[in-house]
């Protein structure tokens, strides 16, 4: 279906079902139960899952296929966000033109940055991309963000925001009640959401999440097509042996540049979507830590695999938002059944790993994955599947041999 083979179609279908039912799947615990804080099914976080999923899918087209490790992809994310907010300020609050502009502008930046950076490979390429991203960050933070100058493109520290006196040529500067209009898709408001109570559970369905999820599915589908195309095969060949490629009559530079631009456009799309969900853009989105985060996501999930980056993005965003909320009060609540001294000790031991210390847990998980599962979470999944298959097979064998033994 859709020009995919059976295996890829079923993968796409599984991802589609999971994303469409995510508000249920991510909310397994009743609202009043003590475990409710592990529920991730609220719109804000679900949006982040799919948007960072898009970011990581795009990054994987560059890093997973060609092996070029870019340390500056957050620049495209930020550029996408700024472009989208400018579209909201100048044209209209519809998200379609904003998304289109953010993809185009980040694509243009990717052409320039890629053209220069791809002259080198390996660590030098990584450093060049990092340098470009830091330049973009500093430009956005100070040079282009000085409210007093006429080149105020980014509004510096405060971040680019919507104002009541923005022109919005195809819309209104302010609504009837004097507030800033909200982002929408032909009238469907992005922040609109519907909450359904079912017994002890409550599920919220947000328009913003579903729009992002559909765009994520579309990006995922395109990524599968790229992976399975002759172009994708050439990108894997670039990772293997550039020398052989050159002596086989293939020019490697346009291939790597195309991959770089495609992944830059994905990052721009993710940045644009972020601004659609919450129309403001700050320079911190372009900082090098954000670039590092997408590298972590891709490696944690499994670089070069289709679903890996999405899993990695989900895992990291889940930890960031859920683990960080576990503070000492919560811990004391959990361990209150222990004797006082022991309770304090257990809380003391766990304290560094949760709450503000969630980075420590992430670091340990990341180390464990890199050391024991170089193929990321996807490899972990495959190993478990193989184990089950083998066990099933040996059970079958045992069942077959038993009658003979009698």
């Amino acid at each position: 279906m859709f020009g995919l083979d059976k295996k890829d179609t079923s993968l796409l279908m599984i991802v589609a079902v999971l994303t469409m039912f995510a508000p249920f799947i991510l909310n397994p615990f009743p609202t009043d139960s003590g475990l409710a804080q592990f529920n991730a099914g609220y719109p804000d976080l679900m949006q982040r899952f799919v948007i960072f999923g898009i970011f990581a899918i795009g990054f994987n087209i560059l890093f997973g296929l060609t092996g070029y490790l870019s340390f500056g992809h957050a620049a495209f994310l930020g550029i996408g966000s700024y472009s989208a907010v400018w579209m909201f300020k100048l044209l209209s609050m519809n998200i379609i033109p904003a998304i289109i502009l953010s993809v185009i502008v980040s694509g243009l930046f990717a052409v320039v940055i890629g053209y220069v950076s791809l002259r080198r490979s390996g660590i030098y390429f990584s450093i060049l991309t990092l340098a470009f991203a830091q330049m973009c960050y500093n430009m956005a933070y100070s040079v282009l963000g000085n409210p007093a100058s006429s080149y105020n493109l980014t509004n510096g520290e405060t971040g680019l925001q919507l104002l009541l006196d923005d022109p919005r040529v195809l819309g209104v500067s302010a609504t009837a009640d004097g507030s800033i209009p909200v982002t929408n898709l032909f009238g469907l408001e992005m922040r609109g959401s519907e909450t359904i109570e079912m017994g002890a559970w409550s599920f919220s369905f947000s328009a913003g999440y579903y729009v992002s999820a559909i765009i994520m599915l579309l990006s995922f589908y395109i990524a599968i097509r790229v992976f399975r195309s002759p172009f994708g095969m050439m990108l894997r060949a670039v990772k293997c042996n550039q020398n052989r490629m050159n002596f086989t009559g293939l020019s490697t530079r346009p291939y790597t540049l195309a991959a770089f631009v495609i992944s830059g456009m994905y990052a721009g799309l993710a940045g644009g979507l972020m601004a659609c969900m919450d129309p403001l853009a700050g320079a911190e989105r372009m900082q090098w830590t954000a670039s590092g985060e997408v590298v972590l996501m891709t490696i944690l999930g499994g670089a070069g695999t289709l679903i890996g980056p999405v899993l990695g993005a989900g895992a990291i965003k889940y930890m960031e938002n859920i683990f960080s909320k576990i503070n000492d009060t919560v811990l004391h609540g959990w361990f209150s059944f222990l004797p006082d001294g022991l309770e304090d000790f257990v809380v003391f031991v766990i304290h560094p790993f949760v709450g503000k210390g969630w980075h420590l847990t992430l670091g340990l998980v990341f180390m464990a994955v890199v050391i024991f599962l170089p193929g990321g979470l996807v490899e972990g999944g495959q190993r478990i599947m193989n184990l089950i298959k083998r066990r099933k097979k040996s059970d079958d064998d045992a069942a077959e041999t038993q009658p003979a033994a009698e």
């Binding site: 095969m233 042996n241 086989t248």
Partner: protein, 251 residues
Amino acid sequence: MGILEVKGVGKRFGGLQALGDVNLSVQENTCHAIIGPNGAGKSTLLNCLIGKLIPDTGSVMFDGQSVLGRKPFEINQMGISRVFQTPEIFGDLSVLENMMIPIFAARDGAFELNAFSSVSSQKDVIERAEKVLEEMNMADKRHMNAASMSRGDKRRLEIGMCLSQEPRLLLLDEPTAGMARADTNNTIDLLKEIKEERDITIAIIEHDMHVVFSLADRITVLAQGTPLVEDTPEKIKGHPKVREAYLGESA
């Protein structure tokens, strides 16, 4: 006029004159071997032919066109394929994929942004790749990871990849270096077969005299960056200058 004409090529690395005034003419549909002791400039000469090095002086013409200043992929597109000393293949890809890449390159040129068509729909390329694999007796290995094959098989695959593009000139750089005797003999048989069955010109650089004398129609002996003699294998065998270059003056 040969298909490959090397005229007055010289290359200097700092104080070392690696090549001085090399003249060489490779005739179409022959196998021309270039031999010489270590440091004679064989590899430098080869690198000048395929665009890795640009000689300081002289000219290299392939089929009437200069190859100097062109990039390796452009030279390949002119019809020159190269086999390396250590097999250069795509290790992480399957054998079939390895074979498809040069066929894509021959069909679509140096770059094609066909990111939306699936590999499995490229029937003509797959068919051709399978055919070449059969000719190379590797059809049963098509789904193997290329890196996991033996050295001899990797060499066979690399030669197959070059032949799949139907080049007019095949350059071989010590194709049997570091191989076991059996693998060497297999490679010789394979190259003999190629030579007999196809309209192809082969230029080979080799240390192993057994390989050279079983394949070559003409031999050029290179010593200290200049061609010493060029002749048929029979005459080269007993040539006093050649013995001198290889074994020293006392011989």
